[in-house]
């Protein structure tokens, strides 16, 4: 949907003539770049995926024999032989063996040009030839290789590295060792919490922090955390257990208010403890006292999750509640646009239908809870706002019309929010009535801000948090607060003035978002626009409240109905917390300085979320206040105070231990590129509003160049000047950076309208590490091989050259999905998968991968479901054919290629990067 032009552009008959009229020119030239047949450990046969999807499991089960041992992990596992578990020793090992450039048995020698010096055990860097066009300061004898001769295969490949990493994962990742680098976000691993929290909950850009700010300045590697506090864990991982300290409440350091964690040191026979963050001592209250054993650990160490785990939950006491009152269980409010457009497109009818027949039966509940305690409320709006009384004692629903929009208010209290269990009869009758009531609506103008405002007030009145689901079709142009006008000017996109278009036009929606955040609710906006919607302004309410925007351009039930239903289901089912407050505490000498994501801040340290769910992530940049001691570790603690779906007030405490170093040689190997790219992406997206596209792009390139130059200067001095040297952990930096500078969120190509751009920027700001890595490097799977193969096919590099004309591929980046059909594809594929006689019948948007009883269809659907589950999103699917009019949109996602507009190809970017590094080094 992202790049999809409006359906009116598509001539369904046109593409069908293309393959015949212009025969493919590259037919035999390219083999699909199939990797050596790897053992594919990650995914079980796709056939089993469908059933798992319905279970809500979005990760396939692992094949490692591993039993989660709960609170008492056997200590022997702590030294598990994960290749990444103990980086320190290896770093030193690799440093010492640095000059011995022996070919590594693990790395394919063909990967590197002859002058690469692979490290025998673990190459810290990969050296690349001197590229043409560079001034050669040393008069090097390196041959001037023409650009065409450089084989793309010789450049580091995301897919290869993912597969290599995946292969190395043999045992669970155990978090007992501070500074241990976790597996790549894109790999399939199990984590065992033994002190620091699961990397799915929190990742750091580096696991060994430089001891001085200067090192960071030199290296240009940001010290940042990417936190997804409610992230989904694998079923075989330990969910943060819920503990309860009773009346004494969570145990905290009296000075810095850090929460009890496994790194706190008990002294004086257990009477006091020393805070690992500020080193103050705090008396242990009698209720919490326990004796220490001979090693100085409390004897109940393994009975209490806070003493042995990096992530735990604790039931909050009343002091942690708003006004010291226990919150009510959250409520969901559905606000449905009933103006002409909405009625005509069938949206009103459809939403009411799915709510009634499906969604209301699957309202979220706490784990272990019998039934959902979520209450629901309904309102509709056009030029007025209509509220519905659905009290169970009523024979029929009552509608209340509020047309005083200047000061909107909720006209009722009791019957607005009701439990769907008790009021089901009235609700069903209401959902039948709403479409009938408005079937003849001629109202084309709508309001929006008053409707949202009313929702906030309703939740406020009911003393609960919750979600406001807004289904809106048009720009709110009716006279009311929050009235907007069409200010779209596509010509500005990509120019220096684009920020005016992408910034909110006023702060009304921002204010609404702030009010949401302060009242513990979030707005999830489902927009169905046929024209400009001004998401840049309206989206603010979602951004500040912690909600999400779903966009369905030119909505039709036929094309998007299923997606809408699935997105709503996923939205309902994911873990969510309301009225949340998050704070990051760190050891002295370092402190959080910058916060990125979709939330609201009232002061410099606390992030306020109306709601936060499993798919939301924030980034926090840390800054040195002081020089850190390399003798001790640095600790990070994230405390999230929230109200669970059942209305329980809880705290989730995540603790992470990092080591400290003064050496670049130990700093670089501890870097996590996925997290760095996540942070860089968010910084870049944020700066769209106050910078120019050109400077953003150049700063990304410059930063990447600096990172590599600093490494070169400090860790690889012996190498030849013309060589491009990539540290092992940053091998993929060029490809990610090249993708980032030309990604549609930052460049805004012609294929992307203003609203889509705003939407993308909104999504990226809350994206987790795994999400950004997929966004920066889309996954391509071949589909034509699925018939025989039951395992997940290997991924393919994002380059057009690697697609076979006789193949069918799916590409996805977490936001959109395309199925590409090669011109020489066997027609039976179309029959089997789409149920169509010929590829010419395919309509890009309407095409559905329907259920057919053949292995190919099953496997394709299995694969798509697996992708959707992994992204927890029902991405818009376009089916396009090779060389049809929509192919350029698809090609846009082939990030290794030169992009449609000005984006350089991977190779070109590497050249540019290398040039810049050399400039820096001079």
């Amino acid at each position: 949907m992202l790049a999809g032009p409006p359906p009116t552009y598509i001539s369904p008959t046109l593409p069908s003539t293309m393959p015949t009229s212009s025969p493919p020119t590259y037919t035999n030239q390219f083999q699909p770049p199939i990797m050596p047949p790897h053992f594919q450990p990650s995914y079980p046969p796709p056939s089993s995926q469908t059933s798992m999807a319905t279970n809500g499991i979005n990760r396939p089960p692992i094949q490692y024999p591993y039993l989660n041992s709960g609170l008492l992990p056997p200590s022997s596992q702590s030294d598990a032989s994960s290749p990444m578990a103990n980086p320190n020793s290896q770093i030193y090992g690799s440093q010492s063996s640095f000059p011995n450039y022996q070919p590594s048995p693990n790395n394919q020698p063909t990967m590197y040009p002859p002058n690469v010096h692979p490290n025998p055990i673990r190459p810290p860097s990969v050296h690349y030839p001197n590229y043409p066009g560079q001034p050669l300061p040393t008069g090097s004898v390196q041959p001037q290789l023409p650009q065409a001769r450089i084989d793309t295969d010789s450049l580091p490949s995301v897919i290869q590295i993912l597969e290599q990493s995946q292969e190395k994962i043999q045992a669970p990742f155990v978090t007992s060792t501070p500074g241990a680098l976790p597996p790549l976000a894109g790999t399939n691993f199990v984590c065992q919490d033994q002190g620091s929290c699961n990397p799915r909950l929190m990742r750091s850009t580096t696991y060994t922090i430089p001891n001085t700010a200067d090192m960071i300045k030199q290296s240009h590697i940001p010290i940042a955390l990417s936190i997804s506090p409610l992230a989904n864990l694998r079923t075989d991982e330990l969910e943060p257990p819920l503990t309860n300290f009773g009346d004494i409440g969570p145990v905290r350091c009296q000075r810095c208010k850090a929460y009890m964690c496994s790194f706190m040191q008990f002294i004086d026979g257990g009477k006091r403890f020393v805070c690992c963050f500020c080193e103050a001592t705090t008396d242990v209250v009698n209720e919490y006292f326990n004796h220490l054993d001979h090693t100085g650990r409390r004897t109940d160490c393994y009975q209490r999750p806070e003493l042995c785990l990096g992530s735990y939950e604790v039931a909050a006491t009343k002091q942690y509640c708003k006004d010291e009152k226990w919150p009510e269980p959250p409520a969901f409010i559905f606000m449905i646009d009933v103006s002409y457009n909405s009625v005509r497109s069938g949206l009103v009818d459809y939403i009411c239908h799915i709510l009634k027949t499906d969604l209301l039966d699957y309202l979220p509940k706490d784990k272990n809870a019998e039934t959902s305690t979520v209450r629901v409320g309904f309102a509709t709006f056009d030029k007025q706002v209509h509220f519905y009384n659905i009290r169970d004692s009523l024979g029929q629903p009552q509608m209340m019309v509020v047309s005083d929009l200047e000061e909107i208010f909720v006209p009722l209290l009791d019957g607005f929010l009701c439990s769907p269990q008790t009021s089901r009869g009235v609700i069903n009758s209401l959902l039948d009535q709403i479409p009938k009531t408005f079937v003849n609506s001629q109202e084309t103008e709508t309001v929006l801000a008053p409707a949202i405002d009313a929702g906030i007030q309703a939740l406020k009145g009911a003393n609960c948090g919750g979600k406001i689901y807004v289904f809106s079709t048009t720009l709110p142009i009716a006279v009311a607060p929050g009235k907007l006008s069409n200010r779209d000017d596509k010509k500005l996109l990509g120019t220096e003035k684009e920020s005016t278009l992408l910034s909110p036009v006023n702060n009304i929606y921002t204010k609404l978002g702030e009010e949401c955040a302060q009242n513990g609710c979030a707005v999830d906006l489902f927009v169905f626009p046929n024209a400009y919607y001004d998401l840049a302004t309206i989206g603010e309410v979602c951004r500040v409240s912690g909600g999400e925007i779903y966009k369905f351009n030119f909505f039709s039930i036929e094309n998007d109905g299923e997606r809408l239903l699935d997105e709503l289901r996923r939205n309902f089912q994911r873990t969510i917390g309301f009225d949340a407050l998050m704070r990051v505490r760190t050891s002295t000498g370092i402190r959080p300085i910058d916060f990125l994501g979709n939330f609201y801040m009232t002061n410099a340290t606390e992030m306020v979320f109306g709601a936060i769910d499993a798919d939301k992530s924030v980034s926090v940049e840390l800054k040195h206040d002081d020089k850190l001691s390399t003798d001790s570790n640095t600790y990070i603690q994230v405390a999230l105070l929230y109200t669970s779906i059942s209305g329980q007030r809880r705290l989730r405490i995540l603790t992470l231990a990092l080591t400290v170093t003064s050496a670049y040689t130990s700093f670089y190997p501890a870097c996590d590129l996925d997290t760095i790219m996540n942070f860089t992406t968010k910084v870049a997206v944020r700066s769209v509003l106050n910078s120019t596209p050109k400077s953003i792009r150049s700063s990304i390139t410059t930063q990447a160049a600096h990172m590599l130059a600093c490494y070169r200067k400090n860790c690889a001095q012996g190498s030849a000047a013309g060589q491009l040297i990539l540290p092992d952990t940053l091998k993929l930096l060029p490809v990610y950076s090249s993708s980032l500078v030309k990604c549609d969120a930052l460049t805004g190509t012609v294929t992307l309208n203003t609203d889509d751009r705003s939407w993308l920027m909104h999504r990226l700001m809350s994206m987790d590490v795994k999400g950004t890595s997929a966004y920066l490097y889309p996954r391509i799977y071949p589909l034509h091989t699925l018939e025989e193969d039951h395992v997940t096919p290997s991924m393919i590099r994002c380059s057009y050259d690697r697609l076979s004309d006789a193949g069918a591929y799916v590409i996805e980046n977490g936001l959109v999905m395309y199925i590409w059909l090669g011109s020489q594809l066997d027609p039976t594929f179309v029959q089997y998968v789409f149920g169509l006689q010929a590829a010419s019948q395919i309509q890009p948007e309407k095409c559905r991968v329907a259920q057919f009883d053949n292995p190919l269809s099953k496997n394709v659907r299995g694969l798509l479901n697996m992708i959707r589950d992994e992204r927890n999103s029902h991405m818009k699917l376009f089916v396009i054919q090779q060389r049809d009019s929509m192919e350029p949109f698809f090609k846009n996602y082939l990030v290794e290629d030169k992009s449609l507009t000005r984006g350089a190809s991977y190779i070109d970017f590497v050249y540019e990067l290398h040039r810049e590094i050399r400039n820096i080094l001079q």
Binding site: Q398, M400, S403, D404, F409, P411, Q433
Partner: protein, 771 residues
Amino acid sequence: MATYQEFFLQNEERDGVRFTWNMWPSSRLETTRLVVPLGCLFTPLKERLDLPAINYEPVLCTRDSCRAILNPFCSVDYRAKIWICNFCLQRNNFPPQYAGISEQLTPAELSPQFTTIEYTLIRVPISPAIFLFVVDTCMDEDDLTALKESLQMALSLLPTDALVGLITFGRMVHVHELNCENMARSYVFRGTKDLTTKQVQDMLGLAKHQPSARSVPTNPNVPPQSNAFYSKFIQPVSVCDMSLTDLLGELRPDPWPVLQAKRSLRSTGAALSVATGLLEALYPNTGARLMLFIAGPCTQGPGMIIDEELKHTIRSHHDIEIDNAKYMKKAIRFYENIASRASINGHVIDLYSAALDQTGLHEMKYCTNYTGGHMVMSDSFNTSLFKQTFQKVFAKDNKNDYRMNFGATLEVKCSREVKVCGAIGSCVSLAQRASNVSETELGIGGTNAWKISGIYPNSTLSLFFEIINQQQEATQSVPTDQRGYVQFITHYQHLSGYKKLRVTTISRNLLDATTHLPAIAASFDQECASVSMARIAVFRADTEEGSDVLRWLDKMLIRLCQKFAVYEKDNPGSFQLTDTFTLYPQFMYHLRRSQLLQVFNNSPDESAFYRHYLLGEDLTQCLVMIQPILYAYSFNGPPEPVLLDSSSILPDRILLMDTFYHILIYHGETIAQWIKAGYQDLPEYENFKQLLQAPVGDASEILQNRFPMPRYVVTEAGGSQARFLLYKVNPSQTHTNCVWGQAVGAPILTDDVNLQTFMEHLKKLAVSTST
């Protein structure tokens, strides 16, 4: 010639008019020297069973400045078919359809017994009456249930073509849409906001539906086409009966929580504002009745009487006096504005208040007083007092017609000698500045026409007049046959939808007061004078301090006595009042003590309630309010009226007191003991049982006919409720002048002066040369 008393009664019976003076002085100065102003109590729609049904248009005087209606006092030249207007002396031709008249064949309007006559204007289109229920929901379940039953009953009592609508309010104001299928729908307004009519109309979407009605230059006298279009909010009973029944059935007490030590948030003002705006938009200048039911004071938004905090008590008379009523002035302004808007359009506002505490009638009284609405005060909607009163609103007379009428205008025409000073009653000025409007204002003046939006057969206005000096030759000529004429023209909309026109023409002789003072004195109607003075006093009490009003009343009484009594100067013993004045001082005595002027022990709401009825009721009822009637029942003889005096309270008597607002049965001490002993149940004491029954029967008869239902109290000597009696009677015996065991009657524990002392002072002051 009959006595004046019979003349008064006959006049009242025929024309519904009683004048304070029935011979008028011929000069202005002499008129003012009469002390009691020249005025009358006029009951425009006095029930007359013998009125002929006249379905043609009245004949008007052709002089533009006159337009008086042909009446029995006009001189008619039957041969020339010419009549001379008795007001302006214009000679008018009869219209063609009167061609056949002769001395033997006169139209009804010329017949001397029809000085009051009623025309039904059948050419004006019929518009059904409109009832808009505005219901408070801040009350407990029981009360609301009772109220819902009453409303349900009202629906069954309404004519089927009547239009009805429903607005409910609590914290919010809900305007209910009628006849919605499957889903009840209401438009909701914030209770804290005062909306303009335009805003209300826009928000209700009314402007959109009536573009045609708005574009036509509005003629205020033409109501919108009645059958063309019904809005979704107001529809005929026959159409929306089911829907309304359902709506009422679903009605629940206001769901918003009321915190401890707080009042419920009640948006009476906003609701009234919306209701008025709705009627204005849909039915301007059409009879409509806005019935407001409240169970407490307005606590938010426009018209706020008191805030939410229970610790802040609602204003008392004392607070008002020391200017400690924070919200009062603003609220008064608000309700007055609403009342004006409603009255201009002929809409009536009724206030049905049911609460133990005050509900703000003091501030809201303008709504009823300006529009002729009912003001009913009860403790709860679940009392028979409310239920029966409410039922009576829809009562029919013996012609099976509803007793309520709408949108009346009363215009007064005068002969040249007479000018109109003003009116006091449930009306508003139409600001019609005709030539007969006096410069001197008394009551609502500056006009010769008033609007009475809600008018009933017993609605009575006080009208005041002024005599102006005649031209020189007139005074010189023999004055005996000089007559003054007054014509009252009342247009109104009958509940049947017909517009009717009632004309009452009266004449009185003009006398030269300098020579004929005794004749004028003999024509004094002291009952009418008492009620007129009471109304003036109450009218003044609204704007002046209570003590000033009392002082004024005293001064007027003294001056009247000085002028008309027979006495020697400075000799109180010689003081003698003539027959026509004997009762007047006594009425004034009781008026001074009545709850109409005394605010002690009354809340402002109660005062407003009491005064409201004084301004609307007819003469007899007003007199009862001023001086309650006391009947005695005993074995010593048939029931008899007795003095309103403590000496009337005897142990072996049963007393029945009617104060208009209360009906009280009081069992004397002995009677009470007999009841306790149970004699009434013994067969041999059947007569005692009958004695006990007698006052109850009489009381129920009064209850039957009274609107509003009086509070019915049965008490006995020493009973706590006996206070209602004790504070009304003249305290001729008190604890100071009474020796126990000797006196006849019951001593009253009071320091108030009794009538005797009052009279002595009056005599002293009247005869004194110094005053």
